[in-house]
Amino acid sequence: ASFCRVFKISYLNFERFPASCVQHRLVVRDASTLQILHLYTCTDQIQYIEWSSDSQFILCAMYKRGLVQVWSLEQPDWHCRIDEGSAGLVASCWSPDGRHILNTTEFHLRITVWSLCTKSVSYIKYPKACQQGVAFTKDGRYMAVAERRDCKDFISIFVCRNWQLLRHFDTETQDLFGIEWAPNGCVLAAWDTCLEYKVLLYSLDGRLLSSYRAYEWPLGIKSIAWSPSSQFLAIGSFDEKVRILNHVTWKKITELEHPAVITNKKTIVYKEVEKSPTLGTERLSFPPTRALASSLFSTQSKYDICQVPVSLNYIKPVADKANPKVGVGMLAFSADNCFLATKNDNIPNAVWIWDMRKLKLAVVLEQLYSIQCFQWDPCQPRLAVCTGSSRVYLWSPAGCVVVKVPGEGDFQIVSLSWHSSGDSMLLLSKDHFCVCYLEREEVK
């Protein structure tokens, strides 16, 4: 893997081209060379940028001002500006066809659908202020919006082509927390707040296909993920378990537990260990050279395979705080449907990788620091993990490797994002980013 230089950013979006913004300037670079292609200036500090689906346009949202500005890649002179006015702006996103922008006004009063093709404006009333209130199908045909009227939750399904309401039905949830379409676009999963464990599965035409409830009183669902083939729905909950439902009967086929001690002999446990750099004492010189200094203070680490049984670093959660750091908070399926990566927030340093063909725990990666983010390669079963240190960790069924970001000082990776081709990866720290290029042969 090779790296590029580190640049300063405030926000970044990396699907096709890394577009980064600094303060009120939008910088668009080339993906392979990171040369600046375009530079745009917005009126205010940009909080959010998003590429349109065809990568023709990029929107920049300025929440404080309630403004959205759209820039075109092909025609740099083209501009568009949407002012929500006194309604305010809390969220903005593209529609799947890349020609409409959905703005959520303040207090979630309404969602305004602005069209770039026509002058029409649509309003969606009573949107629900929840984590995932708007969901588009993968093919972009339909949009599901969570609504709340009269203290009851509803879901509306719109046809994206002409923004017509297709279905509108109520859900049996106490407080709908999120909705997500299955990748095949025919099933919509809706789940309740963590005070109630409930998952409802609706068909595209609004029929309730099934409802699943694992238990009643303790805190419920923390995270949900569909498998890419729509065969499985993984539900991570506060009781440190992942329950997997199958798409034929919508019944639980297995429970994946995250215990603090791993005893299964077939599980491979990779443990990150630090190895202090070895320095010959003769080579020390005063004043120390820069390279020497950096090598002194930077720590190397590598993976060791631990023998089972292994006990992981378990943190007892504080009992009287809301949103406790307990339970399975991160779930992700690999692109080929073979693996599921999870993180149990009680055991914050470990990534659990499950083999979906056998429904068994395959690998546990134990890091030195707590996991910040992980993401699967969009093309092959390769997982990238970052823990807030200056190293990125890659795992594949062949093995795992630690990659250190070169550079002076500390580059603390807080988030990462793969390129859609799977060749490169964007690593983000608080105010810098860098791109990591992966060579196909070399990945161990």
Binding site: R81, G85, A87, C117, K119, V121, Q174, D205
Partner: protein, 579 residues
């Protein structure tokens, strides 16, 4: 060894001033714990002093007389020659002395024995006392142990009770907390709803304000409108579009379902293929004569159809059918075949193991059909037995679960029944006893009679012989008339006796027939008897009169008696002996 000690004891008799010493010997205390009084023979040395103490030259006479008195009181003969007088009978004195010595020896022996026994008893008692103390200690110990264990048990029980109580308390608390949680949850929901309504009201208000405040300022400012991504133009919202939307949605759904169905169909065909393959393999693996599925008799007539269908199923194109019956048949047939294969493999395993162990007995190998038949039979038997057991249990339950009254009643009934039965039996028994008694009596009577008769017979024989001898001389027909009546009288009584004897538990016809047709013979015989009996009573009566009694009759009698009377008599006797 001991030291002599002389103890002076005052004399019993008043007239002698003599000192009557005793010697006592005391054994050393080390060997024995008890004192033993021994009366030992004085040594020769002190004998002299012994004697001199009692008898001196002055009081020889008194001492001798005293000794004599003592001896006589002790039962010895006097040492004087005669009861009065002063002459000493030396012989008797020596005898007395000897007697005394013997007595002394005996006493000594007895004393020894007594002492030994005393020692033994002493040691036994010691031993027993030791045992007793030991046992007492043990008893104490065990009592203490028991108390300790009881205490512990009590403690544990109280602890157990406490724990139970705690558990109950915990459970109650948990229940309470759950109730609290649910009540709080409902309360929160209620409050949340209220707040939400308020919030909605605010939002509405705000929305109104915002919408009202909407100025003419263009919210969106765009240089030029861009074309749609797909190049088409936007369409108006009409009903047709709505319908088209619906249509499209359903199309999407349908395509998804079709896709899934296709996948499932593919999976099914794959699996069916695999099953078919497996079936073929199994059939090929099985030995050829077992290919016919050996079903139970219940399948019966369906068997042939199933076989045909299975044969049909084996054809390649039939697996495309997916109706339920065909599916079931396929799976059932595969299961059967698999079971057969399993049995076959097990059999082979057994054979192999037995072959390894060295004894491969063909007779031991039971063919599978027989085995299956056997197992079927056994299973049926088991079923039947189980059912029987169940019914028995039920009956038992019924019996047991009857309430007390009915059980008592039942028991009483049973007891009554038994008692009645026993009474019946007793009655029968008593009857039989009575009968036996009667028979015994009759037997004894018969025996007595037999004895008498025998005696009579003997006497008769004698008389007859005598008569024979005398008949030649005497002729006493004239006295026949007077005697018959007297004889008949006695004959009557005898006959009555016989009659009464005949009234027994046997066909009375037997004896009565004999009794009636031949009373004359019997009477004759009895007259003979009486004649004979009278004979020995009057042992010393004049013979002539007797002899001349029934001379003629006796002739006849004897004749008839000889010819047939004997027979009848014997028959009678036999008949009497019959019961």
């Amino acid at each position: 060894m001991g030291d002599w000690r002389t103890v002076t004891v005052p004399l019993l008799s008043s007239d002698s001033k003599n000192i009557f010493p005793y010697t006592s010997e005391r054994k050393s205390p080390a060997s024995m714990s008890s004192e033993v009084l021994r009366l030992s023979l004085p040594s020769a040395k002190s004998m002299h002093s012994f004697f001199s103490a009692f008898c001196t030259e002055e009081n020889i006479e008194q001492s001798i007389s005293y000794i004599d008195r003592e001896l006589t009181t002790m039962g010895f003969p006097s040492i004087y020659v005669e009861s009065k007088g002063k002459e000493l009978d030396l012989v008797s004195m020596v005898n007395c002395m000897n007697e005394l010595l013997v007595l002394q020896h005996k006493n000594l022996r007895a004393q020894e024995e007594i002492e030994i026994q005393h020692l033994k008893l002493g040691s036994d008692m010691d031993h027993l006392q030791n045992c007793y103390t030991k046992l007492k200690e043990q008893l104490e110990l065990s009592k203490r142990e028991i108390v300790g264990l009881q205490e512990r048990d009590r403690q544990l029980q109280s602890k157990n009770r406490n724990l139970h109580q705690l558990l109950k308390n915990e459970k109650d608390e948990v229940q309470k907390l759950q109730n609290v949680i649910s009540s709080r949850a409902t309360q929160y929901n209620h409050d949340m709803k209220r707040k939400e309504r308020e919030y909605n009201k605010l939002k509405e208000r705000l929305h109104q304000l915002v919408m009202n405040k909407k100025d003419k300022k263009l919210a969106m400012e765009v240089l030029n409108y861009v074309g749609r991504a797909d190049g088409k133009r936007g369409a108006w919202r009409t009903d047709k579009t709505e319908a088209r939307n619906e249509e499209e949605m359903y199309k999407v759904l349908l395509s998804d379902y079709e896709q899934r169905q296709k996948q499932l169909l593919l999976e099914n065909t794959e699996l069916k293929k695999v099953l078919q393959q497996m079936k073929k393999d199994i059939i090929s693996l099985l030995p050829p004569q077992k290919q016919k599925p050996k079903e139970r008799s219940e399948d019966g007539p369906v068997l042939s159809d199933q076989e045909e269908d299975i044969g049909e199923l084996n054809k390649e194109n039939m697996w495309e059918l997916s109706c339920e019956t065909v599916r079931e048949q396929l799976t059932n047939s595969i299961r059967k075949q698999w079971r057969m294969l399993k049995n076959h493999v097990e059999k082979l395993d057994n054979q192999v193991s037995r072959g390894h162990s060295g004894a491969l007995n063909e007779k031991d190998v039971i063919s599978r059909e027989d085995h299956e038949l056997e197992t079927g039979k056994l299973e049926l038997e088991i079923q039947q037995c189980k059912e029987m057991i169940r019914t028995q249990q039920q009956l038992l339950q019924q019996q047991l679960t009857c309430d007390d009254d009915t059980t008592l009643l039942l028991q009483d009934c049973y007891l009554l029944e038994e008692r009645e039965r026993l009474q019946e039996e007793w009655r029968l028994f008593r009857e039989q006893k009575r009968n036996f008694e009667k028979e015994r009596k009759s037997f004894t009577e018969a025996a007595i009679r037999l004895g008498l008769e025998r005696k009579a017979f003997e006497e008769d024989r004698g008389a007859w012989l005598k008569h024979q001898f005398l008949s030649m001389t005497a002729d006493c027909k004239s006295e026949n008339s007077t005697t018959p009546s007297a004889f008949l009288r006695s004959a009557d009584t005898d006959l009555r006796l016989v009659r009464s004897a005949s009234q027994q538990k046997r066909p009375p016809s037997v004896l009565s027939t004999t009794a009636s047709p031949e009373p004359c013979q019997i009477s004759q015989y009895i007259t003979q008897n009486s004649v004979a009996s009278e004979k020995p009573a009057a042992d010393y009566l004049p013979n002539l009169w007797v002899g001349s009694d029934g001379k003629e009759e006796t002739e006849e009698c004897t004749k008839t008696w000889e010819d047939s009377g004997l027979d009848t008599l014997c028959r009678n006797l036999h008949m009497e002996q019959l019961p």
